[in-house]
């Protein structure tokens, strides 16, 4: 019984982890058809921002994670969008390559600034026990954050005027322009929002995972797979694919070990894309958010 609770808890955590690290990429890919391969480094930047702001500047840890990290990455995202990405809209492969370049450059810059070692902060919430097993209480916070992020994306896109304008501009840029909306600005804000979500993920996860210059590879591979397998619908695709991969990888992990679990996730992704070439939401949740 206790073991079952632990298993469910671990699966929920894996799903939340995947949803968190993929949310920013999902917004940018789903809304703008831009694949940001520097996404992993954006997440890391959020982690670094949270660590610096808490450890060096002494700002409250929750403020560092939930406010400073997203803001810092959003600002960086705007700069990257203005300097690089806005010239490449509509050229899917070229944006992928340019952001891959950005990713490499950021890895190099992190190594120069923070050194090649891994840094972290202490989790602000202690553990609790379920029967004989002790679990990390901070994980509950991660799961809550993931749910919050998904609700936030859904709410903004569905119920606010800004979300409506953004969706309109993505569907038909010319029409949105004709109505007097500056689509270039809409793209910029959308990219900044996606970056902020990446930063939030980095900030929130910083106490759990080590933040080192090359750790971004871990995120980009998983986030990329989750988002592409999810398909073009931002929210339903994100939920469906992180749920699917979370369950698969944890099930395999329990049956064998964590490395095989990760390989299981990757194999599942290849099979899934072979069966559903446009992702889960390309097949099941067409034209939904």
């Amino acid at each position: 019984m206790d073991l079952a609770a632990v298993v469910v808890y671990e699966i929920l955590y894996t799903i939340a982890f995947l949803a968190l690290i993929s949310a920013g990429l999902a917004v940018v890919f789903g809304m703008m058809r831009v694949v940001n391969l520097a996404h992993g480094e954006f997440v890391l930047l959020g982690g670094y921002a949270a660590i610096v702001s808490h450890n060096t500047l002494g700002i409250n840890i929750f403020v560092s994670m939930l406010v400073v990290a997203p803001l810092a990455v959003a600002v960086f995202g705007v700069v990257a969008e203005r300097l690089i990405i806005r010239f490449l809209y509509g050229r899917l492969i070229n944006t992928m390559l340019a952001t891959w370049g950005l990713s490499l450059a950021m890895i190099g810059a992190f190594t120069l600034i923070f050194g090649p070692t891994t840094t972290s902060i202490k989790a602000p919430i202690g553990g609790f026990a379920v029967g004989d097993y002790s679990l990390s209480g901070y994980t509950v916070f991660i799961i809550a954050s993931a749910i919050g992020v998904v609700l936030l994306i859904f709410g903004v896109l569905k119920y606010t005027r800004a979300g409506l304008i953004a969706r309109g501009a993505m569907q038909s840029a010319d029409m949105a322009n004709a109505f007097g909306y500056d689509t270039s600005k809409v793209y910029m804000v959308t990219f900044a929002a996606g970056s902020a979500l990446s930063g939030l993920a980095g900030g929130v996860l910083a106490p759990l995972v080590g933040i080192g210059p090359t750790a971004g590879l871990l995120y980009i591979a998983k986030a990329f797979i989750t988002v592409i397998s999810g398909g073009a619908s931002v929210v339903s695709g994100l939920i469906a694919s992180s749920g699917f991969f979370g369950i698969v990888s944890q099930a395999v992990t329990f049956a064998t070990n964590s490395v095989i679990g990760e390989i299981g996730l990757l194999v599942a992704a290849v099979i899934l894309l072979r069966l559903l070439p446009t992702g889960i939401s390309g097949r099941f949740f067409r034209d939904r958010l």
Binding site: R33, L88, R91, G101, G108, L273, G279
Partner: protein, 353 residues
Amino acid sequence: MTARQVLSSVVVAAIVMFVLPVFFDVLNLTTFAAYALLALSLGFVWGYGGILCFGQTAFYGLGAYVYALTAINTGEAWSGFFLAILLPALFAAILGAMMFYGRLSDVYLAVVTLVVSLILFRFMNHTAGEQWVIGEARLGGFNGIPGFPTLHVPGDPEAYIYDENLYYFTFVVLVLCYLLTRWLLGSPFGRILVGLRENEQRIELLGYDVRARKTAAFAFGGALAGLAGCLYANAAEIITPELFGLGLAAEIIIWVIVGGAGTLIGPMIGAAVLGYLKFVLGLRAVKEVFGRENPLEATLVFGVILILFILFLPRGVVPSIQGWLGKARPGRAGAAGSGRRRRTRAERARADA
């Protein structure tokens, strides 16, 4: 390709082959020649087949591992040498068939190929234990496999080919592969392949089986990459899972972009020049100029190069030069295709959104 073109290519290649060792270290040159072959494989698959494979390292690493494992088990090199071409080609054919008959394209194809090389990377890193043995060879996990027999004169396993001779051998193989690829592109198969890159639907409506042709092209690219892996293994004399890694996967794409997709010579030059640049950035003397343990990061430089090329010279160096020459010498529109292809792809992406 006419006999005259073959002859002139061979003469130029021979001059380059004998001049380079005067200026550079032979071991480095051997490595760069292997890199150039790897770049040639992606240059063919991507630049001519229009298949953007993010995981060309999968076949490269596979070639290296197949060679090392066979060489250890048989005690001689040549069966491993040919298996290192054959097995990656077979693997590429299976993977390609799975993707192309499933109609995967663009991003989805990129993800699948990337994921496959990640799987191999993770798996090979995981094989450190005693139980991971193939025949007499331990897979060795992240430490890789050292000390396998290297290439030797056929029939005499004691007469190793090394140093200068290995360099000449690698270079000759590279030139042969280049000529083979040129010949393939001039054949009906190659012409249909280029047409397919320009407009897949039209080729299909003309009655050609697009899926089979893409699979065949992908397998050929896999064979070249596997051979490159085998040659690299012989130069380095150790192989590690890094051969499958994302870092190298990124580098290959940068070589091709910088040199120029849509040419064969461009990616090879890109690989050699950038390979040398990376080598120089890693040198102790350069590290001392910057006065710290941690030099100007090669990744930083490469990232910036990639961004600048995508923004300002997306066609790459060689097609741009050909373009400038083409203005002066009308009738050679070698590079025009790649520009047009980008635009059609952009339109398609817009239509998708």
